[in-house]
Amino acid sequence: MAKYGLLIDYNYCTGCHSCEVACQQEHGYPEGKTGIKVAEFEYETFKGLAIDFLPYPTDLCDLCVSRQKNGERPACVKHCQSRCMEFGLLGELVTTMEKGHKMVIFAP
């Protein structure tokens, strides 16, 4: 059972791609291989168009175990340009989520 996870405050994800390349660089993955992928959603609402981005960790996400050992945050979290990702214990992330909206928690 995963104890740690990633919280994404996806109201603020701008789709900048930093998390993806940070992950690929950290793990030395070639193109086509990545621990995280950003999806884009475009849909009509009662107020007009909505555009959202959502990064989701893939099967390759290891929550940056080797960085954790050095006391560093995961590469994606550290480089996220809008700082919309948080790494932590699932229980603690849930507390953050209770106060927010448009958030998800991933337990890769």
């Binding site: 791609h17 993806e20 950290e26 193109e31 168009l49 555009i51 809008s82 700082r83």
Partner: protein, 748 residues
Amino acid sequence: MSDTKLFKTVTWSAGPGCHGGCGQKLYVRDGKVVKVEGDEDNPFNQGRSCPRVLAMTQYMYHPDRITQPLKRVGKRGEGKFEPISWDEAFDICEKKMKIIRGEYGAEAMIFAQGTGRDIGGPISFLTYSYGSPNWAQLGLSGQSCYTPRLGAMKAVMGDFTVTDCSQFLEKRYEDPAWQRPEVIMVWGQDPANGCPDAFMGHWVVDCMRMGTKIISVDPRQTWMTTRAEHHLQLRPGTDAALALGMLNVIINKDLYDADFVRNWTHGFAKLRERVQEYPLDKVAAITGVPAESIEAAATFYAKSKPAAVHWGVPVDMSPEGTSVAHAIICLWSVTGNIDVPGGNVIARPSHGVSSYPYSTEELVELYGEELVQKLTKKRIGADVYPMVKNFRGWAQPDMAIDQINSGKPYPIKGAWIQTANILGGQAARARLHYDALKKLDFVVVVDLFHNPTSMALADIFLPAATFAEKDSFRAWWAPLAVIKKRVQVGECKSDWEINFEMAKRFNPEGMQRWNSVEDLFNERLASSGMTFKEIQDKGGWVMPEEGPCKPYLRHERGQLRKDGSPGFQTESGKVELYCTTYESWGLDPLPHYVEPPQSPTATPELFAKYPLIMITGARSQLFFHSEHRGIPWLREKEPDPLVQVHPDTARKFNIYDGEWIHIKNDMGKVKRKVKITRKVHPENIQTLHGWWLPELKGPEPDLFGVWDYQINQLIPGPQCSTSGFGGGQYKTTLVTLEKIGNMGENNG
């Protein structure tokens, strides 16, 4: 990674390409950069990084990277090059360029830059050492990128301003002197993707998280416009009308800051009169934005304190770009938002250091009145356009290419092209640029990779260094920083080193002052009271100290004017809403609206044939202009040149999502893959510029597919504002969509 060493430095820029100034940590093992991470201690990016800098290792050690000087051995464009030594390369350049100078005069060499890198410093240094007046962003119609806004700000307010996201304060958002903008009016930019002109777009997102509201002025829908309190979705190129309409509301409803207007502005009554010509019903008809929306947004902006305007390149690319900028400057001026915390804060390069001269004033400081005046006489466009003559040392690019083509009034015989993929990037009338530049006697390209421009034109290719491989310094707003060389790749040299060596050959006497590039840096850094090494020892960057380079309210404190009295650096000492400088240059001293040269109303016949307004030139996190198409981590995220088409438009043209089509007008046709999306208005399409495909063949006629994908082939010219700067039609050109006949042949 125990044998890995960590070094801190600052970008600007080969690598990410841009004009941001992020602090980065380089992890170096066995003389190679193995990883790049954002520097948490640097106040600019605070540990964050863009995808382009995170892909640095793929960029630096790319198999296509040119790492030795090259000499052309086949016919021009044939793609046959041979490696040579630096000595030989420098000797050839010296010999050929001296022949041109001897036979035709120094003005016969044009020094062409794109944007990116710290290039303005080294290329203007070489241009002036050689003795040529012709330093230009060749291809960039109307010099329509920031220069028009800079020129307008200098003329109207005597200084430049930027949105205050606390970037001049070391503690950033924590500094008690800073205040969060209540509103940021984002005018023609998508900060999440925007060009980091010494401004990180995500600072706006930081402010949004803290509660800042957004007004978006944008013909498109973006992440940011969908989160804006007010989104004014205007017709491209009608920005001036919208700004004047907003001024009409603010002035007529008495929403302006009466104290600021009384104490610190000049010509308010005349501006009041002028805005009466822009009642909201008229403005709504021009812009396509409902009158109620304009009124609501203008009211919201004016009532929010503090409020800031963050603007982008569409301002420059509107017809009469310098007048559009003037109108927007009036918005932040009459609302009293100048140099207040959280407003439009006055931006001066930290410690008064200049490397990339932004105005004639700075040029004169660096090179002396006499030389600058002498060169201005011959600079292309200076006798025709007042702003070319009086603001900044650029030659006028549309006139320059026409002159290269015609040889009149004097011949241009050679080009030194550094950081500029003219043919694959910025060149409006790209074909004409190709034909004209082909005629030159001698062309040097200084770059990191081959591109369509180097392939088609270069006689000599000089390999430039990335930021990790060079010493340089960064002086653009804040902080003042030094860039420190950490590794060497092949034989690549920095732009400063290359140009310093060439300058010695062209101006040996003038160059006696400096033994090394570092000596030159130290002279340029003098106003900081520190040397290159001293700044390095302080950690590599220093924030502005108390004084004219640090906010706030410097006009009240007498810190802006040379004479030390309160006020602004203008003739009247005030912000000149009625601009006497424009007046003395023969320009309209008040802002006004001009319809784009091609538009549904200006050219109805053309519009009947080409019923879509094409927006090009948007920025991307993945690609800096025409760069990065060959970097695997970046390219895989946007592999194809896309055109955004609204679903209604797609239906009308009978095209489907993912279909390859041609965008077409009288200038030619260009291939794109259709992306059906509601992000564009049904009357517009949008597509990125800078597309060429490094995986295709380089030698002519292919040139990496540039003639299939270079969208700026469709941008007409010559075109520019009455001032000489602004007005390139990158956002307002009319086009149509055409199916590509045979489906078998059209998959890219």
